[in-house]
Subunit: 240 residues, 2 copies
Amino acid sequence: MDQGESKTDRGVTERDFTVPCKDRSIPGVLWTPEGSTAPTPLVLIGHGGSGHKREDHLVALARRFVRHNTIAAATIDGPVHGDREPEELRSAPIEKRRKHLVGDRVTDSMVEDWKATLDALQKLPEIGIGRVGYWGLSMGTMFGLPFVASEPRIDVAVLGLMGPLGKDERLSNDAPQVTCPVLFLQQWDDELIPHDRSSELFGKIGSAEKCLHANPGLHSAVPREEFLDTQNFLARHLSA
Amino acid sequence: MDQGESKTDRGVTERDFTVPCKDRSIPGVLWTPEGSTAPTPLVLIGHGGSGHKREDHLVALARRFVRHNTIAAATIDGPVHGDREPEELRSAPIEKRRKHLVGDRVTDSMVEDWKATLDALQKLPEIGIGRVGYWGLSMGTMFGLPFVASEPRIDVAVLGLMGPLGKDERLSNDAPQVTCPVLFLQQWDDELIPHDRSSELFGKIGSAEKCLHANPGLHSAVPREEFLDTQNFLARHLSA
């Protein structure tokens, strides 16, 4: 793991990092409580489609975890997103990018990326082996649900804005293997994922403790109140 | 309005009351903060089927509103429930009771009962004209949704565990007229109201601010955490 220079602002220490995984180099950002000592609870944050590891609302979420809950947070760029976006896709139509995001192969490699990232982070003296949560909506669930399903170190997860994708059964097949507490967000008027599809995915999640929160509005119009709820939900389970 | 003797226990003043409404006498209970002065926010609580105005979990909820949120709470018995249960129904099979609970006539009379109760309570010096919420699940939504839909004094509501009932379109027709903020509870494995039916009713509610919370479990297995959430939701809107 390579770490960039760390900067501290109002109690939050932030640094870039890269983690090697097979032939790939995974770029990420880590936020930790200033002067933290292991074990520190950690939330892994997966961004949505067309997003990246430093999106404003994810940085704000990560900083809130650190400042309000004394929980560390980390993001990584997804496949063909952020610093992993190949030159030729930068001005390409969205359909061309989508092609790189579907299928078991890309999902499996993103699951590997998250596992390698978690391995590396847990070796840091300021993180260690503590409780771990996952937070990811939309594409952050498309890749995050299979990760949570296959990773026993994840103690709690926030998922949502996603349903089974066409004929691809990966999410439906993996959902029953998710057994940690889950808060699942749904947008009632979601123009990308009809609410009955995301309900279907919620229904398949294996966790005994799971809760769906549905609000009116389009895919990206999750109310601020719900974002705060997801934070409180993770903090409650990670600080227990 | 006739009031019974008031008793005060740990900051909560409680009394029975009866309110006349047409040819009926509506029995209820009122909980107020000790020594409260108007205007005091008020929550009207509607019990579920086979329940009554003094069910343990409703008394506990009412007392929490008073003690934690300085909000008054009141319950009344529903038609053929509690003190309004006719002698001949007391040992009758449940089907016989159900016959008295369906149709516009009984719904309209329960709506009248709630309006008369609210009229009477707002005349009390310790209540006055403050913000008003409604809390009712299952039968508490079956009668409560039409009440909330037709009563502009209701500022916020907790509803749920209910869907359109067979061919009866009353709930579906009234739901678009509900426009206040609503938190709607759903039990994913509800054996009485299938979750797609309660989703359907949630979808028809007219409020711009509405949120559905779904949890695994049978009709009556609402998690304690959700009960606390409903309280916080009402308190946040009533104290604003």
